[in-house]
């Protein structure tokens, strides 16, 4: 029988877009957490970690309340784009974003904090602005950890079920990601399709995780600070 591959493509697309957004937002937040001192920093960090531990339904509920058609944010979105956010594939992106960004921020913060302070001091001492320091020193030094974190975030975005179900729904051909499609296939007794999709998604995740592991090895010899 023919298997509908739309859910896989949708999942990959959603994960790719959400990982891109997560990199932009997440790196900025992680950098601020690692380098700036501000009040309530650890509370911000805890709030960012919350999605990792809360049940997906709780997150889905929050997002539904925040982005629903009756909410101010939902209205702004509807006014700007002409359609409501909820129950579209864009909502699946939001779901994946909230599911995966915390992981990226956590790993990126740890990576930024692991950079030897003397490199940052040296860059400033040599006249570098904070921007140049970030792009030319901090980011290249942490590039591999960041790539590994992004790969993990991508894999995690692929796997979201609960949040997507709550805010994007389970509309075949529109918002049905692979996790939802597998659930549907099992529920409707379509064992062959379920088996196939499970194997494919497992293989994809395995490849991504092994890539992440390869990124995580240190490119500059055994130590970054040769004494």
């Amino acid at each position: 029988m023919a298997i509908d591959w739309f859910p896989l493509w949708l999942s990959l697309r959603v994960a790719a877009i959400s990982t891109t957004i997560a990199l932009v937002l997440g790196l900025w937040l992680a950098w601020a957490l690692a380098n700036r001192k501000f009040r309530g920093k650890e509370i911000v960090d805890a709030a960012i970690t919350l999605p990792l531990v809360l049940p997906p339904t709780v997150l889905g509920y929050y997002l539904l309340v925040t982005f629903g058609r009756a909410s101010p944010l939902g209205k702004v979105y509807e006014w700007a784009f002409g359609t409501p956010l909820v129950f579209t594939w864009q909502a699946a992106v939001v779901a994946a974003l909230f599911h995966s960004t915390p992981l990226l921020i956590k790993s990126a913060r740890a990576a930024f904090e692991s950079v030897d302070h003397s490199f940052e001091r040296a860059a400033r001492n040599l006249g570098a602005s904070e921007m140049r320091l970030f792009w030319r020193v901090t980011l290249p030094l942490t590039r591999r950890s960041i790539l590994a974190a992004a790969a993990l975030a991508f894999a995690r975005a692929l796997g979201d079920f609960g949040i997507t179900l709550m805010i994007a729904g389970n509309i075949p051909g529109r918002t049905q990601t692979i996790a939802l499609a597998i659930y549907d296939a099992v529920e409707s007794g379509n064992g062959a399709a379920a088996r196939m999709m499970v194997l494919v998604i497992s293989a994809v995740a395995l490849v991504i995780l092994s890539l992440a592991n390869r990124f995580a090895t240190n490119p500059f010899g055994p130590r970054q600070t040769p004494l």
């Binding site: 040296a122 001492n125 006249g127 602005s129």
Partner: protein, 356 residues
């Protein structure tokens, strides 16, 4: 000329004793050495001057420019201070080649000058064989030369070095010292060097500042500091002396002599101006100025019996450590034949006895 008067306090915490840096220093166009033990605050002082650490109060001036002023809240950020800084671990960017490290530093220069200046530094600091390699692929000496070249490439207005010779073997040290002497001659900028190695301070310093517990306890040319330690504290830090607490028993200016009492022994010294009979003072005697000999019979004039505890073999001489914190240095040849002797006599020539 750098003038820095800075104060920085770290309050005592649950697992730290607290620390206060309170220094007032000047450094002209020569090498000024900040000498002190680990944890004395010398690197912190350097970091304040470089702009990495903001002092609580005080003022840092470079010629007529204010780099920091606590009263008006001026704090020029590190990137605008035009300060060369050689880090303890070099801090060469590991993801860049040596050439790229220099280029990064040269970006402060006008575009047309960058390329020429990078090549000039590669030539001058003998990096011509390795500019395309990364720091972990080159030798310690090459890393060291590259880090100095990087600090100097944009013509800084002053140069700071944090224990640059730490972890280097003797030939590399000598190379570093000759590079620094060249830098002093070529660049004519104030150079501040932090070290806990007295030899290094003595070899390089035109001026030496002795730092202890966050304060400068003595300053002056190294030769003067070593010959006239300002306090028992400094003398202990320098670790070159026998320190004897004595009481002045007699003073005779006409014969330029004095009689001093150390425990139950009488010593004859030179006349001590500015002190009265009965004063208790510290005498400091360089270890290489005393004479030690195995004990035979009674102690003669200016001799003190002492028990040998330890013999330390050094490349040029031997150091004999005696009980009561006394020590003497002597050539190897003089010691031969006395290996068995336990009881010794230490003789303090009158001219070697100097009051602190």
């Amino acid at each position: 000329m750098i003038r820095a008067r800075i104060r920085k306090q770290f309050p005592a915490g649950r697992d730290s004793a607290g620390f206060t840096l309170d220094v007032d220093l000047q450094a002209g166009s020569a090498i000024t050495v900040l000498f002190g033990p680990s944890g004395s605050g010398k690197t912190l002082a350097l970091d304040c001057i470089a702009g990495f650490v903001r002092p609580d109060e005080g003022r840092i001036m470079l010629d007529d420019d204010i780099l920091f002023d606590g009263a008006t809240g001026v704090h020029v950020p590190a990137r605008n201070r035009r300060c060369g800084y050689v880090f303890q671990n070099y801090a060469l960017f590991p993801h860049m080649t040596l050439r790229q490290n220099l280029q990064f530093a040269a970006e402060r220069l006008p575009r047309l000058e960058r390329h020429r200046k990078v090549n000039e530094m590669i030539e001058k600091f003998r990096l011509g064989d390795v500019p395309g390699r990364r720091p972990h692929q080159v030798s310690g000496g090459q890393k060291q030369r590259c880090s100095i070249a990087r600090a100097l490439i944009a013509s800084p207005r002053f140069l700071l070095l944090d224990e640059p010779a730490r972890g280097l073997d003797a030939p590399l040290r000598e190379e570093l010292y000759s590079i620094l002497r060249e830098v002093r001659a070529d660049f004519r900028i104030p150079v501040l060097l932090v070290t806990h190695d007295l030899d290094e301070g003595f070899q390089l310093g035109d001026e030496m500042l002795v730092v202890r517990d966050g304060r400068i306890v003595q300053s002056g040319p190294p030769r003067t500091v070593i010959e006239q330690p300002a306090s028992v504290e400094v003398a202990r830090l320098l670790g070159l002396y026998n320190l004897l607490p004595v009481e002045i028993k007699a003073l005779d200016p006409s014969r330029n002599s004095s009689r001093l009492r150390y425990k139950e022994f009488d010593l004859t010294g030179l006349y001590i101006p500015g002190h009265l009979i009965g004063d208790k003072v510290w005498m400091c005697i360089r270890r290489d100025e005393v004479r030690a000999m195995p004990r035979e019979g009674k102690p003669g004039p200016n001799q003190i019996p002492a028990t040998l505890e330890n013999v330390i073999d050094r490349p040029g001489s031997l150091r004999l450590d005696f009980a009561e914190d006394l020590a003497a240095e002597m050539p190897h040849a003089q010691f031969n034949g006395s290996e068995r002797a336990k009881e010794w006599l230490i003789e303090f020539p009158p001219a070697s006895l100097r009051v602190i």
